[in-house]
Amino acid sequence: MTASHRPPKGTTVARYVVDVMPKREILDPQGKAVLGALPRLGFEGVSDVRQGKRFEIEVDGDADEARLDDVRRMAETLLANPVIEDFTVTAEEADA
């Protein structure tokens, strides 16, 4: 573990997942590149590919609404650019 903060033993840690995707109406050149490559590899019938980012964020304590709000603020402040990207935030329990 290389994280800068190590929770005390026995503390619960919740994992939050932030999925960031380019908005539908925004050109996604990376997705287009993958879309172009798949048929060349013999995969047929692929009509669209869009490429986004997934962040897994671990925060001390059980998942609750307040912490979920914190993660949403992280997403809109830094992880996503709302001008070009949409994001979703979900919580999942992680091992301590």
């Binding site: 050109l27 830094l78 650019n81 070009i84």
Partner: protein, 230 residues
């Protein structure tokens, strides 16, 4: 007129920008990303490069560098700020300019001598150009596609805030062929091409970029008047 040029980790064109300011007759001062102090400069240039490795999104992490808190506050008070390439990306991430810059539509890095039209010469950075001057300035970017939603584009066009537009070739998929824009007040300008690389006959396509730096230099030490006009 003292113009500060910020160096972020990964800036490439900071020294060229300093040199361009000096060639234009201005005084240049290097500013450091980690130092939240503008040291009394009358204007700021955010240079090109790949600050913070372009991690996350171009400019997304630089936008929170300690110096940027001061740049943003000063820009909101009217300080002239020019963001070139990565600097333009940082200005958009900072919300000092609307829209965003995304990967070039053709997905390859572009490096070319680009024809441009300077459509707005009312900013402190473009005041030395004749309106609609056609110039050649080098362009080099991987993520230079300017995008904004329809109402934002309409406002930029309607308010004459498209500072520079690509001519002949749209090199990166920018909407409306937009190469540079300004904020409402006109003191903040973002530009994808690199005027600091077009200041000497020995290198590059010519000296058409020099005028980006002479406008402010010509004002001498009267930044407040530039602010008052804006």
């Amino acid at each position: 007129m003292k113009i500060g040029v910020v160096t972020f980790p990964g800036s490439l064109d900071d020294v060229d920008a300093v040199r361009a300011v000096r060639l234009a007759g201005g005084e240049a001062l290097s500013l450091w990303h980690g130092d939240p102090d503008l040291h009394g400069v009358d204007a700021v240039i955010l240079p090109g490069g790949f600050s913070y490795g372009d991690y996350l999104r171009c400019g997304a992490i630089s936008r929170f560098a300690p110096v940027m808190t001061e740049v943003i506050a000063a820009a909101e008070r009217g300080l002239p700020v020019l963001g070139i390439c990565n600097g333009f990306q940082i200005l958009c991430e900072s919300h000092l300019l609307p829209g965003a810059l995304i990967r070039n539509d053709h997905r390859t890095f572009v490096c070319r001598d680009q024809r441009l039209r300077i459509e707005n010469n009312r900013t402190p950075w473009t005041s030395s150009y004749a309106v609609n001057a056609e110039v050649t300035i080098v362009l080099k970017n991987g993520e230079g596609g300017f995008i904004a939603d329809g109402p934002t584009l309409e406002r930029l066009e309607g308010e004459g805030r498209v500072v520079a537009r690509y001519l002949e070739v749209n090199p990166n998929g920018s909407l409306h062929d937009i190469a540079g824009i300004s904020n409402e007040r006109g003191n903040v300008v973002g530009l994808m091409p690199h005027p600091e690389h077009a200041v000497e006959g020995l290198t590059g396509a010519g000296t058409d970029g020099l005028a980006f730096f002479t406008g402010l230099a010509a004002l001498g030490a009267v930044a407040p008047s530039a602010v008052a006009q804006a």
